[in-house]
Symmetry: C2
Subunit: 203 residues, 2 copies
DNA sequence: AAATATAATGAACAGTGTTTAGTAAAGTCA
DNA sequence: TGACTTTACTAAACACTGTTCATTATATTT
């Protein structure tokens, strides 16, 4: 029964090809130009064909989100391996911000766009990568607390404080609101703000 | 020459009507349904007419942003008048978050959407309301610092820390990423996180 | 070779922002 | 009042969007 196996493989290959082209378009032309029709012409198939491999556009965006998390995770690898918990947090923060500023389209899909979440709730799955990342941050906060590097408090709140600040900074920069109130020195301003936060949480 | 005055007045009235209906649609049907065509049918004019009163959709969104800032400013009035600088910051933060969670569409237009900013850069104007709000926050931080309620540091960085955290929290909630990592107690979680931040900045 | 199962598509639906040429109404002036 | 001009408005088109479905083409099996 090698034939049906080949067919299955070919189906998988076209699915991969769709995702690859979607990724290319996202990087080169941005989220606004990531349309079913653009993907279709890129893979030289009709738009309707894409719906034989994905139930809707949300599913494609969801897959792109997963790819984004893999990219980000690999970029943060060095930070994850830091022995000192506070240094670990500092490097994760810096890496997170750097990723967000360098890959705004990926970041948007991962942390802002409603589509991947809609896909998740539709399929009753969970936000695996995100939970993993957040839990790691919570654990690191707990570690810092056990070393008396910060005052006793709910580590989940500290983690959320850290996350929301860097998320807020990336989004304010992305949406051009930051440059509206502070013309000069965008990147270093973000760096210094995060450092200011770390100074006030950890010792 | 009362005739041309009446005409001018009538033009202004239709402009106002367009904005009023745009506001209604934004509130009742959300940003996704805020289309030129929907506004046009609501005011019982053709879509093309709207372009006689606004150069493009961005300009309408810009005007809605201004309305949003007026709404927010009036809601924050009580907070602005607090005598204690730290309490002032606390109430501004709470009000900011409450506004963002209660009026997600307004919030999006004011702090996330690229359209109003595109309109600004096109017209070489500045983000008046936003700058005003941020500068007020900076001044309040300076006041708190002069009262020795927080350690000596750049007040603009403290203000940005405060802003990015609440902005991040509102956006994480809005984009459903928060409920992905913390199922229970969304609103109070946000409150407690902000409180945790205030505790670590001010004394 | 004929029958069947699978894959791919053309065309349509309902929607988007925006432009342009043409029409209808209102104001101006002889 | 009638002719002319200015202003206000709109129908229709352009180039897009996601999605569905009946139909066609291809590949596999009998």
């Amino acid at each position: 029964m090698g034939i049906s196996e080949r067919r299955e493989r070919e189906k998988q290959e076209l699915r991969e090809k769709i995702l690859e082209k979607a990724k290319e378009i996202l990087i080169k032309e941005g989220q606004d130009n990531l349309s079913i029709r653009n993907i279709a012409t890129a893979i030289e198939y009709s738009p309707a064909t894409i719906y034989l491999y994905f139930q809707d556009k949300d599913e494609i965006v969801y897959e792109l989100m997963e790819m984004g998390f893999e990219r980000m995770t690999s970029e943060l690898q060095g930070a994850f391996e830091m022995t000192d918990p506070v240094e670990r947090i500092r490097h994760i923060g810096q890496g997170y911000i750097a990723f967000g500023l360098k890959n705004p389209e990926w970041y948007d899909i991962m942390f802002n766009a409603p589509q991947p979440i809609q896909h998740l709730t539709k399929c009753q799955e969970e936000w695996g990568f995100g939970i993993q990342l957040f839990d790691f941050l919570v654990n690191t906060c707990e570690e810092a607390m056990s070393q008396d590097r910060t005052r006793k408090q709910d580590p989940r709140l500290v983690a959320l404080h850290l996350w929301s600040t860097v998320h807020g900074l990336v989004n304010l920069s992305r949406s051009q609101r930051l440059e509206m109130v502070e013309q000069n020195n965008n990147d270093s301003l973000i760096q210094r703000t995060m450092e200011s936060m770390l100074q006030c949480i950890f010792r």
